[in-house]
């Protein structure tokens, strides 16, 4: 292994990861600076159930008309994000548990997942270029983030065999892209995974409290609706 590959697999990755973590901490502090309003009404449902249901929405394509009507798009989403998970896992496995990729079946599994994600990424790019709605709303960041992901998948596909005797460049490309990502991600749309828990939490909390979600689980009785199920703070009674 060359010094360059060793450096880029280890120190560079750790530095980039630390940078990402630091920026995210600042970002979270920034988000928490904004106030969240206090709920003052009697509950008709359950905030906890609403939050759980809202967070689980990602795994419930039947729950939304938008994904229910277009399962193909949802399948692309699943494949794409499984590829992300596999590629990120590979960035840790290669330097810290290389024996895992000595198992041929594991390599093939990772290549299958990452390769499928590559194809899903290409389909998503085509959709973004062809669909007039997406063309109108897309920014440079939307395009570049997607193209970078496609390149990341391609590099990951070639890197997971971890065969440095044959060629180091796939690994250098893969880890180079990974380091770049770690620095770029906090400032791009790719950070949406950081916001997902927040948007889902607040939507789930509000709609869960009102009994709007989870759908069909709230007992339909005036009693439930009309009796106090939670006492607002400061209520002396």
């Amino acid at each position: 292994m060359s010094d360059m590959l060793r450096l880029i697999e280890n120190e560079v990755q750790l530095a980039a990861l630390a940078f990402l973590g630091l920026v995210y901490i600042v970002r979270l502090i920034w988000i928490f600076r904004f106030a969240s309003r206090k709920e003052r009404t009697f509950a008709a449902g359950s905030q906890g159930a609403g939050i759980r249901r809202s967070l689980a929405n990602i795994a419930m394509p039947w729950a939304m008309e938008s994904t229910r009507k277009d399962p193909w798009l949802y399948a692309q989403f699943v494949v794409f994000h499984l590829g992300v998970a596999a590629a990120i896992a590979a960035t840790f496995i290669i330097p810290y548990a290389p024996h895992v990729f000595e198992i041929r079946a594991v390599v093939l599994l990772f290549q299958a997942v990452i390769g499928a994600a590559f194809l899903a990424g290409v389909l998503r790019l085509v959709r973004r270029l062809v669909n007039p709605v997406l063309r109108l709303i897309s920014s440079a960041d939307d395009y570049v983030s997607l193209v970078l992901m496609i390149l990341f998948f391609a590099a990951g596909f070639l890197a997971v065999p971890n065969d440095i005797d044959r060629a180091e460049w796939p690994l250098i490309a893969f880890f180079g892209l990974t380091a770049f990502f770690l620095v770029y991600v906090p400032f791009s749309k790719i950070s949406h995974y950081l916001y997902y828990p927040f948007t889902r939490f607040y939507l789930g909390r509000t709609l869960g409290h009102r009994g709007a979600i989870p759908q069909g689980t709230r007992p339909m009785s005036p009693g439930k609706d009309n009796e106090r199920t939670s006492r607002p703070k400061g209520d002396p009674r």
């Binding site: 904004f34 009697f42 008309e65 938008s66 709605v133 709303i137 949406h192 927040f198 709007a212």
Partner: protein, 446 residues
């Protein structure tokens, strides 16, 4: 009374600077994350009746509409957009014309029905963003004339249709006399300001100004059910234009009028007549706007009717509503509230041919008059154009009646029915229950 608090547009004012100050000052955490989380996947597009009706116009999509405030947020508040605005399509408002354009988007091409919110994989609450933007513009007086006029009326008179106290009291007396004549019973009353009742009944000013029959229907049913109830002399308007204009101060003041009326009269429960935005405002949002901790149960009259049926306090004969009835879920009640099965339970008991429309419940399409759009005449042509989605949905039911528990929806649906020449009539739950009501024999209860 409170008219001074309504902002008028000042053409000589530095409105852009003020807009940006308000934007920065009013952001909450749920708003901020909804502004940052959108990934531009476009899945919201086909949940919106505006886009479904105009599929070749990407500016009708929820994401594009939300992006018009999102890009200002990115340019002035968020990180990357402040440094590299072109990279994330961040942008600003430069003059009053930009503010006016924003007004036409958030007031004119969105009924804030929240259907897109339920269809966003990320949980971005576009309905919330639209209301927030409306609120910023309202603070500058950059609002449609109808919104301004109704808000002014509500600030000045305590009700959105500027009903005088004399008109209010006389209409209630008139309806009381109607019910007395119908039942042949002089004990029937529509009490005003009676303390210590079980129910404080609050209504929509439309019931005084245009169609008082729901008051009579409620009075008749309450009388037969032996309900202890009253209307307040002040604080009777459960509607709230603050919800539509985004003006939390108006929302707080109107809602507080109702809550304080309940406290003043020591009512055990607030009951809201059939009104979608009134229900959402009084049951849910108003307590937050007013900073008022809820102390008494607050419910829709439909829930009250259901309780009367459950407890056997009223009897009904569904054969009196024999023709096909379908139910239209109000956005503010179903998607931003809790009542979905309750009205259906009542309708199944009082109608012999109840049929669902498709989609229904929380996936139902807006009546197209939501979000205060009925008061904005300048957007009527677009509203009626995109109403073809609703018209097709209604027509497919083959029902003779479409029932809704919302006054806005009544007018919205009536416009759709008239414009698309549908062979239907709009009714409310109270009307159907009243028609099916089996009156006790003389000497019985009541």
């Amino acid at each position: 009374m409170a008219g001074g608090r309504l902002q008028t547009y000042d053409p000589a004012g530095d409105n852009v600077r003020r807009f940006l100050e308000l934007l920065a000052g009013r952001l909450t955490r749920p708003l901020t994350v909804s502004l940052t989380a959108c990934v531009h996947c476009g899945l919201c597009a086909e949940s919106c009746h505006y886009f479904l009706a105009r599929p070749d116009d990407p500016t009708m999509t929820p994401v594009w509409k939300a992006d018009q405030i999102r890009k200002v947020f990115k340019r002035h508040i968020d990180w990357t957009g402040r440094i590299l605005p072109w990279w994330v399509k961040a942008g600003s408002v430069h003059d009053d014309e930009d503010l006016n354009r924003l007004k036409n988007i958030v007031f004119g091409s969105c009924s804030a029905c929240r259907r897109c919110t339920y269809n966003c994989p990320m949980g971005v609450d576009t309905g919330l963003l639209v209301r927030f933007t409306r609120g910023l513009l309202t603070e500058l007086g950059v609002v449609p004339e109808g919104v301004f006029n109704v808000s002014r009326d509500q600030w000045e008179t305590g009700n959105q249709m500027a009903v005088s106290e004399q008109d209010y009291l006389e209409t209630l007396e008139w309806m009381r006399d109607e019910v007395r004549a119908e039942l042949g019973d002089d004990k029937v009353d529509i009490p005003i300001d009676r303390p210590d009742c079980d129910i404080l009944y609050t209504i929509n000013p439309r019931e005084i100004k245009f169609d008082p029959r729901p008051i009579a229907q409620a009075a008749k049913i309450f009388h037969v059910a032996g309900e202890s109830w009253t209307l307040p002399r002040w604080g009777w308007d459960q509607t709230n234009f603050g919800l539509f204009s985004g003006d939390d101060r108006l929302g707080a003041w109107v809602a507080r009028n109702v809550y304080e009326a309940a406290e003043r009269l020591r009512a055990k429960r607030i009951v809201i007549s059939e009104c979608g935005h009134g229900y959402r405002s009084t049951r849910w949002e108003g307590y937050t706007w007013a900073g008022f901790d809820q102390r008494v149960p607050t419910e829709s009259v439909v829930v009250t009717l259901k309780r009367h049926l459950d407890q056997g306090r009223i009897s009904v004969d569904p054969s009196r509503n024999a023709e096909g009835v379908t139910f239209h879920d109000s956005c503010n009640i179903a998607r931003s509230g809790d009542l979905v099965e309750e009205p259906r339970d009542v309708l199944r008991r009082v109608c012999s041919d109840f049929r669902e429309m498709t989609p229904n419940r929380r996936e139902n399409y807006c009546c197209t008059g939501g979000g205060g759009l009925l008061s904005m005449a300048e957007y009527r042509p677009l509203r009626l154009e995109v109403a073809k989605i609703k018209a097709e949905q209604l027509r497919a039911t083959g029902a003779k009646y479409v029932c809704t528990m919302c006054h806005n929806c009544i007018d919205g649906l009536n416009d759709v029915i008239k414009h698309y020449k549908l062979p239907m009539k709009v009714v409310q739950v109270l009307e159907l229950v009243s028609k099916a009501l089996v009156l006790p024999e003389k000497g019985g209860r009541g």
